[in-house]
Symmetry: C2
Subunit: 219 residues, 2 copies
Amino acid sequence: LLIAQNLTKNYQRGIEKVKALDNVSFAVNRGQFIAITGPSGSGKTTLLHILGCLDKPTSGEVYIDNKPVSKMTEKELDNVRRLKVGFVFQQFYLLPELNVIENVKLPLLFSGNPKKVEEEYIDEILNFLGIINRKKHKPNQLSGGEMQRVAIARSLVNKPEFILADEPTANLDTENGKKIFELLIKLVEKNITVIVVTHNNELANMAQKKIVLKDGVIV
Amino acid sequence: LLIAQNLTKNYQRGIEKVKALDNVSFAVNRGQFIAITGPSGSGKTTLLHILGCLDKPTSGEVYIDNKPVSKMTEKELDNVRRLKVGFVFQQFYLLPELNVIENVKLPLLFSGNPKKVEEEYIDEILNFLGIINRKKHKPNQLSGGEMQRVAIARSLVNKPEFILADEPTANLDTENGKKIFELLIKLVEKNITVIVVTHNNELANMAQKKIVLKDGVIV
Ligand SMILES: Nc1ncnc2c1ncn2[C@@H]1O[C@H](COP(=O)(O)OP(=O)(O)OP(=O)(O)O)[C@@H](O)[C@H]1O
Ligand SMILES: Nc1ncnc2c1ncn2[C@@H]1O[C@H](COP(=O)(O)OP(=O)(O)OP(=O)(O)O)[C@@H](O)[C@H]1O
Ligand SMILES: [Mg+2]
Ligand SMILES: [Mg+2]
């Protein structure tokens, strides 16, 4: 379903070259639960962004449903980013001028809501995540963990085939973290492919497969 | 040294009132290591900002060296924020247009570097935190955990009497997280007062005193 083939990502800064990813290859099947772990700076976020078509590798290829991403049209790439993949960013990236419900519904605006997602479905997600009472708050009126949960809710709203989540429990206490584990497992049971970058060993151990990065290389 | 007396913080949003803190009181002695824990949304960040004079309570008082904060002049408050307290923010708040070393040295610019902090001292901190090779990177050229460590380095540069750290290991792996524990303990050994908000139970258990919040109340 998703293949990473010899992915390399270099960042050039003047004479300095940072090798963020070095020949990373692996395959993911539909409905699998994959954890990506490794030290800070090992290339996890870089890898996740390339898998989600939000960034291009310096060399190597990503295949989605056997189609090479480098050969996709802009229209096909948009389709991947807006409908196939739900992305939870490490930095959240909520829009400061929109409130919670507007931020969560933003992907529907871009996709035109082709799956006809209902208000009740969204409320169900917000309720499960414990943030239903924050629907009208703006991001600067939320705690760190509340912002994180809004970012998670937003990734689900287009009912994507893949969830790519970058440290989704970093700002959460144990109780709320467990709710996220539960959510991710429910998605996998619905045959959604979940790839999560995490420093949380408990969450990583729930995955069917662990990819461990160190200095941009799979170890 | 630091006294919180009946701190209450309400946020009014139209007809809705959020009670972020409700009658919170405790005392902290010089050189103590205090952990503040509790679920997401329980008021930890709100409390830390009030203790660090970055926000005012709706009612109640903070005393620093027996001086009530509400009676301090703007000059005295500036002195507290710039020299007495080193603050590590949950959202980091690094300036995007400055590189790492410029971001770390920013407090020296505001304080006029009265303690004559040297370049070697700063390099020592960056080296200990494992980010010495990122001195010239801008924040958008850093990983989440690297940004977190820059925020920690910045809080130390004015050699403050207090460190107030909001989830300083949230974006770090176990190894790098342990480095932060080590750093905080070294500071406490130097008689610096450390108050850390954390979801990390291992770090919280190293503290001499734990303050547990739930719905804005100490439990
Ligand atoms: N400006 C605001 N207006 C309204 N409500 C607010 C505002 N700022 C914070 N809150 C609310 O106050 C509560 C406490 O927020 P706070 O950031 O202190 O929580 P926290 O314990 O740090 O949570 P976390 O562990 O998620 O970081 C939250 O429920 C939040 O929604
Ligand atoms: N635009 C850039 N220019 C130069 N170096 C970069 C850039 N973006 C990232 N890097 C570097 O690439 C390395 C990998 O970054 P990445 O964000 O993928 O790490 P990570 O594994 O997600 O780390 P963390 O656990 O701290 O979030 C880091 O050392 C970072 O400094
Ligand atoms: Mg990352
Ligand atoms: Mg907080």
